[in-house]
């Protein structure tokens, strides 16, 4: 029997764990104006180092904690030195994308080393519970609270009374001015990454012990929770991050008490979206103050697009069109069908992220909306599949735009966080809205693709169908980009204040971009649903959103041809080289890192 006091204690304990992650994020954001998406990966590394220490080396608890902190700090230092420092003079989005790439690489390395199966991480503390009031508390709760409070105190003393701590604070308030006082900003960055990583690693260890289990999916969840807590407290605000974390822990715990466990994350992300919309600077800053972001669009690498002659397009399209008539294997067609589906998603994302500058990290949600709409309409209302797919596209355009609209007033990083959260919310609503979506069971027996009453089951037919749809969408988008509308999109991306001064309504144009992009993504999701015949809430996950982003960056943000080329390259090349599935994510991460470092404008250049 759990009492309210139990839920409160649980919320505060979980909040303490979040705080260890969020404080690190806040320190890093303060100094570098960067949301470190690799923070969760360090947390994951911490958990697995802890597992090695406890299960294999049998280290005593204090030594385990120290070991985890030291190894995690080292990982943090390496990330800073080799992943981020070279990007200092790069476009602003570069470090953010680099941390995403790093997190893919780290997570995948952990998965390859330890296998994706969950492992038990035994707590090294006696299993007793003390009765207090109507609730109970165990030694592990006390340990977590103790580590949280001790870390907060140490951090306070460090920031307030040491020279390096002063340097950290000065650099976070005005980097250039701090340099002019003689502060070595690289050293400050190193310090901050080291501290953040040590705290994150210990947090992973404690969580592992708390739930007695660790697995590789922890990473993304930890990053998301840390980001939520940090943004709720005010990005870059260290005490705010602690309060935000405790608040998040309590909200989740009470949410579970009332609605059940599967709602936990939904509350976290709703809290985030509400805070972003109402108080984008967090609960402790004034609502009017603009978030600390650049005013104008240095967010995307400026470049001249590579010119490709018209005849080359025609030849490429013709070649791909007659490909099924040539003696190619079923496997090649299958691979290219996947590439065309990803290509449609990339078209959508390159418009939204590249042309109008809203870097979305939740684009897979648009696939999911399209897929579910199309699947349910064809199953329950017996709508012809062709119509159902179009309906999926329209639903994705409408619902996606409505869902994303709270983020229209945000800029830069905040758009990415908001879209990430909205994407998660969509997935969680699908999971929990059982009467419509069939919840965790998913939808099976989705009818196959068909056109005018003829089922398209032959891979050649499916190939042509998806190829034609993609080409039509691409041509429409090219037409759009050349129009007045396309110019307005780019104006908003490059300088939203100037665009507004010239009378462009930001909300209207952002909506139009998401409507168009949402349609393309929804159609892609719809086709996928009928192709797979089974979908559930995890079919279209964050990993796909990030893959789409990698594709789009590979091709060149805003570049239609680039998006398609990127899709073929990232889906096709791993197949050509027969790279095992578990290495693919690793490769995507490395590709993203290399791109950001050496060619941020992508293969064909940004438009």
């Amino acid at each position: 029997m759990s009492s309210w006091l139990d839920y409160t204690i649980n919320g505060l304990i979980v909040g303490n764990v979040y705080a260890l992650v969020a404080v690190g994020l806040a320190l890093i954001f303060g100094v570098s104006r960067l949301i470190n998406f690799a923070q969760g990966s360090i947390y994951l590394v911490g958990a697995y180092i802890g597992w090695v220490a406890v299960v294999q080396l049998h280290t005593p608890l204090p030594l385990t904690i120290i070991l985890v902190a030291v190894v995690a700090a080292l990982v943090g230092l390496i990330i800073e030195r080799f992943g981020l420092r070279p990007l200092q003079n790069s476009v602003r989005i570069a470090p953010l994308l680099a941390t995403i790439g790093i997190s893919f690489v780290l997570d995948q390395l952990v998965m390859l080393t330890f296998s994706p199966n969950p492992r038990a991480l035994p707590s090294q503390l006696p299993d007793v519970r003390f009765q207090i009031g109507g609730g109970t508390i165990g030694p592990l709760d006390l340990l977590i609270a103790g580590v949280g409070i001790t870390s907060a105190l140490l951090l306070f003393v460090f920031l307030r009374y040491t020279k390096l701590g002063w340097a950290v604070r000065a650099a976070s308030q005005d980097r250039d001015a701090a340099m002019q006082m003689g502060v070595d900003v690289n050293r400050v960055n190193q310090t901050v990454f080291g501290i953040a990583a040590a705290l994150g690693g210990v947090s992973g260890l404690l969580v592992g012990m708390y739930y007695n289990q660790i697995d590789t999916a922890m990473s993304l969840q930890a990053t998301l929770k840390g980001v939520v807590a940090e943004v709720v407290g005010g990005a870059g605000n260290v005490p705010g991050a602690v309060v935000g974390s405790l608040l998040l822990g309590l909200v989740e715990s009470y949410g579970i008490a009332v609605f059940g466990t599967s709602y936990r994350n939904l509350f976290a992300f709703l809290l985030l979206v509400v805070v972003l919309v109402l108080r984008p600077n967090g609960l402790f800053a004034s609502a009017r103050q603009a978030p600390p972001e650049p005013l104008t669009g240095t967010f995307i690498a400026p470049s001249r697009p590579v010119r490709i002659p018209r005849w080359a397009f025609a030849v490429a399209v013709a070649l791909f069109a007659i490909l099924p008539l040539l003696p190619v294997s079923f496997y090649v067609l299958q691979t290219l069908i996947n590439a065309w589906l990803l290509g449609m998603l990339a078209l959508s994302l390159t418009l939204v992220a590249g042309t109008i500058g809203q870097v979305s990290l939740g684009h897979a949600a648009l696939l999911a909306i399209g897929a579910y709409t199309s699947a349910l309409l064809s199953l329950t209302l017996n709508l012809p599949v062709g119509l159902a797919i179009i309906a999926g596209g329209l639903m994705s355009a409408a619902l996606g735009t409505i869902l994303i609209s709270p983020s229209f007033r945000l800029r830069g990083h905040y758009v990415s966080i908001a879209t990430l959260a909205i994407g998660e919310i969509v997935s969680l609503v699908i999971l929990n809205w059982e009467s419509v979506t069939r919840g965790p069971i998913g939808i099976s027996g989705i009818p196959p693709l068909s056109l005018f009453g003829y089922d398209l089951v032959d891979p050649k037919a499916v190939y042509w169908f998806s190829f034609v749809v993609m080409v039509v969408l691409a041509l429409l988008q090219v037409r759009l980009l050349g129009s007045h509308l396309g110019r307005s999109f780019r104006a908003i991306r490059d300088d939203d204040i100037a665009a507004r001064a010239y009378g462009l309504s930001l909300n209207r144009y952002k909506s139009l971009a998401f409507i168009f992009g949402g349609f393309a993504a929804g159609v892609s999701g719809g086709i996928a649903a009928h192709l797979y015949s089974y979908i559930n809430h995890e079919t279209f996950n964050t990993q796909q959103s990030i893959l789409a982003l990698t594709v789009v960056i590979l091709g060149g943000l805003g570049n239609v041809v680039g998006a398609l080329l990127g899709a073929v390259a990232l889906v096709g090349l791993p197949e050509v080289f027969r790279i095992a599935a578990e290495y693919r994510i690793l490769i995507y991460g490395i590709v993203l890192l290399l791109l950001v470092r050496f060619r941020p404008q992508g293969l064909l250049g940004t438009i």
């Binding site: 002063w166 604070r169 000065a170 250039d176 001015a177 701090a178 340099m179 002019q180 003689g182 502060v183």
Partner: protein, 246 residues
């Protein structure tokens, strides 16, 4: 030096700077003599602030030489340059807004490690800027523009620099504070600190400077002692963009 001419404390020689394709400085040469106040005048977009950034190592010139006390500054990082003895009062003050006034001033001594003398210097600053005494524990961001300028100057002095570079120290201040700031620059200079300041307000700057340079779209179009430049009509022409100075 064998010639008997005194080597300048700071010298920029034939500096060419680019922002991407655009050239900002064309063969810029400036010298700041020991113990002098030198000011760089010029209108908007003439390359004044970039000159400051070159000295502080925040922007790297494509060619040319920058020396301080005879040693080259090229290739050094900003913190290294600060350690050589150059302090700055940046444009718009750039205080650490959420730190207290005391912390801001002490941040100026970041490169020093002599605790006791730092404490003495802090007391000295409070005699030089008596108003700051009551404000020490206040958030720097809550001060008025003039008070912030005082903090920025105190902060710069705390590193015991040989040269202070100032970017538009009178910008946005009330007339009362403008006079006060100019007076303080003189005081600081009398104690042996050389000053290099960038200013838009030529008549004010020329009142306290020893020498001045006039910068126009990246080129030095006029230079000489402040006294002679004060009455030179070409200074005004340079501001107004007249290319053929009469």
């Amino acid at each position: 030096m064998t010639t008997g001419a005194v080597e300048p404390l700071l010298a920029l020689t034939n500096v060419n700077t680019f922002y991407g394709q655009a050239q900002v400085h064309f063969d810029l040469s400036i010298a700041v003599g020991r113990g002098h106040i030198v000011c760089l005048l010029g209108g908007n977009a003439s390359g004044k602030s970039t000159t400051m950034k070159i000295i502080l190592g925040l922007v790297k010139p494509r060619s040319g030489e920058v020396t301080f006390d005879g040693a080259s500054l090229i290739g050094l990082t900003t913190p290294q340059i600060v350690r050589r003895g150059i302090a700055s009062v940046p444009e718009a003050r750039r205080l650490f807004a959420d730190m207290s006034v005391r912390e801001n001033i002490l941040m100026g001594a970041f490169v020093r490690n002599d605790r006791e003398t730092i404490a003495q210097d802090l007391d000295k600053m409070l005699t030089l800027f008596p108003k700051l005494g009551q404000r020490l524990s206040q958030r720097a961001g809550s001060l008025s523009g003039g008070e912030q300028q005082m903090v920025a100057m105190a902060r710069a002095l705390m590193s015991r620099p040989r040269l202070i570079v100032m970017d538009e120290p009178t910008m946005g201040l009330s007339p009362l504070y403008v006079d006060r700031v100019l007076e303080l620059i003189r005081t600081i200079n009398r104690e042996g600190v050389s000053v290099f300041m960038v200013e838009q307000n030529a008549s004010l700057a020329l009142e306290i400077a020893h020498e001045a340079y006039v910068l126009q779209t990246g080129k030095i179009v006029l230079s000489g002692s402040a006294r002679t430049l004060k009455d030179d009509p070409r200074v005004r022409d340079a501001y107004l963009g007249g290319s053929e100075a009469a």
